[in-house]
């Protein structure tokens, strides 16, 4: 196994994961399938952010904007070009996110720290307003709603949410294979070199600006795909879904899961979906006053985020690794690898 090239290893791992997921969706109810798919699209978004922030050190507070672009791309294609199959729509959503990221990245490459954060934040705040500006095309605040036909007639017996979960996770795993490969390869090394010391990287022959733009491109393409998958799954694209809060929660999920690792993105995505579910159930169980129970999930999320960051500065993945290292004998550091 060790001698196989990484791409084959990653593809095999992805195939294994896909089989496991298909089995998992078979034994769970239709609504859990929907949640599994939801974890999937959040995972792509957070993984893309992991590449940008964890591997390359650029902070983006505006990744929700790329999801917005992806979602509207799929929505418009489904509505205006009904003959396109869904995989083409998703591919174009990825491309659209990537192009937007390229433009944003070109501007962002000159910025760092709070200035970069501010610029990306502006994107998250400003972009959804585009839907208001062109109500004929984007349907204003109401947004677009549509039904996606993706299920082949031969598989008509599969419950729709199960089928959707399969499609979402197929796309997610392909994206993850791509990201994992990237992270292990030459680009991954240059990304980390630029993150750790731009001057040193530049002296070593790395084109700093180009690397940063590339990181933005890949990361926002993931955002576009995530948005596209969300639109595919829920049949909606509306500005109210892509608020600044979404962008911030993606970043928070990444920090919670652990920067600098694609595994961290998985824990982050799981937390995004399931933490809400558990705290909702808890709030219901406690039978609190409505104005407290309504806001309890968000408050608890904040508390957990603070506790995790204090206890495990490297996030859940960092904590897990610490435990793993303590259980086994100290292994060589694998920082920044998936």
């Amino acid at each position: 196994m060790k001698n196989l090239p990484p791409i084959v290893l990653h593809l095999l791992a992805a195939l294994g994961c896909l089989v496991l997921l298909v089995l998992l969706t078979m034994v769970t109810d239709p609504f859990t399938n929907l949640r599994i798919a939801t974890v999937g699209y959040y995972l792509v978004a957070v993984a893309g952010l992991a590449l940008l922030t964890g591997f390359n050190g650029q902070v983006s507070l505006g990744h929700g904007a790329f999801m917005f672009i992806g979602a509207y791309t799929v929505a418009l294609l489904v509505k205006r070009v009904p003959s396109f199959p869904i995989w083409a729509d998703l591919l174009l959503a990825t491309v659209a996110g990537g192009i937007a990221g390229l433009l944003a990245g070109a501007a962002a490459a000159r910025l760092r720290g709070p200035y970069l954060a501010g610029a990306t934040l502006a994107l998250a705040v400003g972009l959804p307003a585009v839907a208001q500006r062109f109500p004929d095309l984007f349907a204003g605040s109401n947004g677009l709603s549509f039904t996606v036909n993706s299920q082949p007639a031969a598989l008509a017996g599969v419950p729709p949410t199960r089928w959707q979960a399969w499609i979402v996770w197929l796309a997610v795993l392909l994206a993850l294979v791509f990201l994992a490969n990237l992270a292990r390869g030459k680009l991954g090394r240059t990304l980390r070199a630029v993150r750790d010391d731009e001057v040193a990287a530049s002296l070593a022959g790395v084109h700093v600006g180009r690397t940063k733009i590339l990181a933005f491109l890949v990361s926002s393409a993931c955002g576009g795909l995530a948005g596209g998958l969300q639109a595919f799954l829920l049949g909606t694209a509306a500005p109210g879904s892509f608020t600044v809060a979404l962008s911030l929660s993606l970043l928070a999920a990444l920090v919670l899961g652990g920067l600098g690792s694609l595994w961290g993105a998985l824990w982050g995505a799981l937390a995004l979906v399931y933490f809400q579910v558990w705290t909702d159930d808890l709030a219901e169980l406690l039978d609190l006053r409505t104005d407290i129970s309504d806001n309890l999930p968000l408050a608890l999320y904040g508390v957990v985020l603070i506790v995790i960051v204090l206890a495990f500065p490297a996030g859940i993945q960092g904590g897990l690794r610490k435990v793993w290292v303590r259980v086994r004998r100290p292994a060589p550091s694998q920082r920044g690898e998936a």
Binding site: P5, F84, S141, G143, S150, G235, A238, T290
Partner: protein
């Protein structure tokens, strides 16, 4: 070598997907409507219903109380033995007024909680995203908490019924009132940038198209309305018609104060609950570091409503709901918004009762479209086989300095087309006449 392999892998995967896929926007051969099965969510002793409400997020101020009011009525009904021996279990899911969340929580209600019906799902941008889904699944979707016209399309969405006065009818009533009482004055418009805006304009334009000097929209995700209000001021609008949810109505009032603009505000029913507005105006001002008197700021605002008001003097229904309020939710402020939820729950309970002991989804829909439902509202429902619109008219009132509401024009009804706005004088049934329990 490596790249050629990955290209191959991607190509293979795409080919696999391609093999079994039609166009994403095409209609599949079979749609999954399920009929003739025993109704989900119904047992001999229980009926489970669900709703999506903005308990958090931009529409929560005000609207988060609607389900609290509804819950109190269901508790009242259940304590009286339920409807046809069944207790009503009311599941409220928070969607934060976020359409993505709406789709998620409605699927949860349908797939996981297996609800019998969705009752009073709130919001135009939100509920419009689950309309097709609910039709496809055959789930009754009644008393939608929004005045958009789209809930009334019996051919396309046979399970969906509106509840509140639709925006076009309301626009006509507002338009006629303004034409009669503010003739020649310049009118500005502030509307939510969705169907609320377009549907309302259809009504207003029939009467005051030539008086309107400026139209502005706001987006619920952006809480700064200064640019819009400034534009209305710059256009010289003397009357400003707001089709705004309570939070944005309160923001509008505070913004006019901030920029020193004093137009006559005409507010549609969705944002015209004096008690809720007073609370919001004071709360928002406090958050901004200012102390204002909500009551003083609200004085003179003209609104429309189709339900009894908690401040509107003696009314048998207000007294009845106050009784339920005092017994089940005494800690809540008794507002028109609370009553909105209570009337909704009462109306659903009436439909459930009319559907009979042998309950199916179709029987509920038949009861809704029978045209027999009469209750707390000031005007009748439009419900029939071919019409799924809710309330058909409203009265016009003004908020007085002492916080009470004074009726300026008695209830009038109209249609969504170019029909006349006419007086409606029929007597409403009393709570005793359409008693649910006891």
């Amino acid at each position: 070598m490596r790249s050629s392999r990955s290209v191959l892998a991607v190509a293979l995967a795409s080919a696999l997907v391609l093999a079994g896929c039609g166009g994403a926007g095409e209609t599949p051969a079979n749609s999954g409507a399920q009929k003739g099965e025993p109704a989900p969510g119904v047992t001999d002793t229980e009926v489970v219903i669900g709703t999506h409400q903005p308990l958090t997020g931009p529409a929560a101020p005000g609207y988060s109380r609607i389900s609290v009011g509804a819950k109190a009525v269901y508790d009242y009904v259940n304590d009286g033995g339920g409807i046809n021996g069944r207790k009503i279990t009311y599941k409220v899911e928070d969607d934060g007024y976020n359409p993505t969340k709406t789709v998620e929580v409605v699927k949860k209600l349908v797939l996981q909680d297996k609800v019998f019906a969705i009752v009073g799902g709130l919001g135009t941008p939100t509920h419009s995203k689950v309309l097709d889904y609910l039709s496809g699944e055959g789930v009754p979707d009644v008393l939608v908490s929004s005045g958009a016209l789209m809930w009334n399309s019996p051919e396309k969405h046979p399970n969906t019924f509106g509840y509140q006065l639709d925006y076009t009818r309301e626009g006509k009533i507002q338009g006629q009132y303004i034409k009669d009482n503010f003739a020649g004055k310049k009118v500005g418009l502030l509307v939510q940038g969705d169907d609320v805006g377009t549907d309302t304009q259809k009504g207003l334009d029939q009467f005051i198209k030539d008086q309107i000097v400026e139209r502005k929209t706001y987006d619920p995700a952006n809480t700064d309305v200064t640019p819009q209000i400034s534009a209305l001021q710059a256009a010289g609008a003397e009357v400003v018609v707001c089709e705004c949810i309570p939070a944005f109505m309160a923001l509008t009032i505070l913004t006019t104060l901030k920029i020193g603009y004093k137009p006559q505000l005409v507010v549609s029913s969705i944002g015209a609950d004096p008690a809720t507005l007073t609370g919001l105006v004071e709360q928002f001002a406090k958050q901004g570091g200012a102390q204002v008197s909500g009551g003083a700021l609200l004085t003179g605002i003209i609104g429309t409503r189709y339900l009894p008001s908690v401040r509107g003097g003696d009314d048998a229904w207000t007294t009845f709901f106050k009784g339920i309020h005092d017994k089940y939710i005494p800690q809540e402020a008794f507002t028109d918004t609370l009553v909105y939820g209570m009337v909704q729950a009462y109306t659903f309970s009436q439909a459930l009762k009319a559907a009979g002991k042998d309950l199916t989804r179709q029987k509920l829909l038949d009861a809704m479209s029978s045209g027999e439902l009469k209750g707390p509202g000031l005007t009748p429902f439009a419900y029939s086989k071919d019409d799924h619109a809710g309330y058909t008219g409203a009265l016009v009132f003004r908020i007085e300095a002492d916080g009470s509401v004074k009726t300026l024009q008695e209830a009038k009804t109209t249609d969504t087309q170019t029909g006349e706005v006419k007086s409606y004088g029929e007597k409403r049934p009393t709570p005793e006449e359409v008693k649910l329990v006891g």
